[in-house]
């Protein structure tokens, strides 16, 4: 393990700061945090560039960026930009901004990258199915006491714990 320049925050302190950011998001904009809808809009915008007619034909995508709608002019896309920027700045200040692959000790880098891609695909598919990801559903919905968000939260942990044992060699 490479030596970090600056240690990670105490998780309870990190959580408190995250809670304050989440509260401010609700207080100012009336909405919470999120990432997967931003990804969705970026994806539709990219597809619209190459195949606008296809975007118009698929109902789910047309609602986001069909016709004259600009999929990128959307709060989630700006939040996504901010998340990238904030993450990069924090990583830079803490000396963690460098090219590397984080993986378990027993698997090769290419296996890790293939699994990361596959995991991202599965995760994003599930996130759109659930109408929100860990941030948009569990974190934001949980803070405003949405009933469905709590059911969702336990489903995520349930799904991950159920498969964790089978995949223990990937991470340990």
């Amino acid at each position: 393990m490479t030596k970090e320049n600056r240690a990670y925050l105490n998780p309870y302190l990190g959580g408190t700061l995250l809670g304050i950011v989440l509260f401010l998001a609700y207080f100012i904009t009336g909405g919470g945090l999120g990432a997967s809808s931003g990804l969705n809009h970026v994806q539709v915008a990219v597809l619209h560039f190459f195949a606008p007619a296809h975007v118009d034909r698929v109902g789910y995508m047309a609602e986001i960026g069909g016709g004259s709608r600009n999929a990128l002019n959307y709060s989630g896309v700006f939040m996504l930009l901010g998340t990238l920027l904030g993450g990069a700045l924090a990583g830079w200040f803490s000396g963690r901004l460098r090219w590397e692959i984080r993986k378990g000790p027993q698997i090769s880098s290419s296996t890790r990258l293939a699994l990361a891609f596959l995991g991202g695909l599965i995760m994003a598919y599930g996130a759109r199915m659930a109408r929100g990801c860990t941030s948009g559903q569990a974190l934001s919905g949980g803070a405003v006491l949405s009933a469905g968000s709590f059911a969702f939260m336990f489903a995520v942990f349930g799904g991950a714990y159920a498969l964790a044992w089978s995949l223990r060699r990937v991470w340990n």
């Binding site: 809670g19 609700y26 904009t29 909405g31 920027l85 904030g86 990361a116 941030s135």
Partner: protein, 442 residues
Amino acid sequence: MAPYDNLIHPGTLLYFVTFLLIGMGFGAVLEMSGFGDSRKLAAQFYFKDLTVLKVMFTAIIVAAVLIFLATGFRLLNYDRIWVNPTYLNSEILGGLIMGVGFIVGGFCPGTSLVAAATLKVDGIFFVLGGLSGVWAFGETVGGFEDFYNNSFYGRLTLPDWLGIPAGVVVLLVVLMALMMFYGAELAEAYFAGKVLDWRPSSLAKVAAATAILAACGVLIGVGQPTPMAKWDRLKGAWENKLETRDVYVHPGEVLELKKNRTLYVRVLDVRPESDYNLFHVAGARRLDPKDVAAPATRTELLSAPDNTVFFLISNGETASTSAWKELKAMGILNVYIIEGGVNKWLEVFPPEPCVAERVKETRGNEAEPLLYAFRYAVGSDSRAAHPDSIRTQPWKACPSPGAATGTLAEASLPSELPYPANLTFTRKVKLQRKVAVKGGCG
């Protein structure tokens, strides 16, 4: 009163900067908490490092306490903030799928962005996988739309579902989180092979737990404002609409809008049940004034389609105006009052002479009496109840003089309208769409 989404318009620089800054705070905190490292995230599922659980639930309880303190002290209007609507089945299945993706890929969408931004190649691959995943969903959702949209419960919150005050629910969530934190500390020690110590590891943790429990105590003590209390706080913005009578709509306009197929007109009748049974506008639903502020009503009205226009009606304007204030404070859009109430409605669209007649003397000393004496309870079985369909539907007429009262005879379509064809009125309804800001990933 917050939120200030009505000041932040899509497409402006302020909109861009606001969301960019919120995103920056989000990304920075995730990075500093170590969420850019997939190993740290995955360790959650082997009980070695429970940072994910600790950060997530700390954030949830801190944000929940702050949000409900803000709403309790009437700084923030809970009815106007975005609460993820509940689609139970798709949320549970989506959650399970995400759990699988989490353990396979080592990130969730938000954390993968931070990993990618700090140049972790696995994070970048996860984001690319994520873009493919949302694309795959968009292509396939058409095949299971019924499942995707079923088990819809609208804006269902835990306080509404459990029927207990929001402050108590926050306290329960905080207690659950504190117990999970305690269990997490023990689990980490156990899996690291340390000797288990049942005492909390530091005084700071005890102090923090005490502080958040105390905050819950304040929350429960303060309570959440009733719609009328919120009205007192918000009325500055709307009171003049009552004075200028901008929200009082002539019955003729209601009739015109009922014929407008792009709108969904709903008439809410806030009179006593007996008056409602005597006569009501066709399609009107009775809403007991004391149920106006009930959570079930709020949930239902808030999840009405975007193109719904609500009209409140009472005999005069007193009860409907007071319900209007409550609904307005609850954040319901497109609510109007029918000018002059049922009494004016019947004046504009007169009932059959054998059904009711206008009286000078009123029954008892009600605050808002019905000025028509009905021979029997007609409900909406009178031409006055549905003047919009009077030309197209078979209707009934008064029987010849001498026949028994209490019944209307079948008749052909009327040759002429029983009211002036061209009513003169000023149009007042302006459809307002729900604000585009939808929180989170929704």
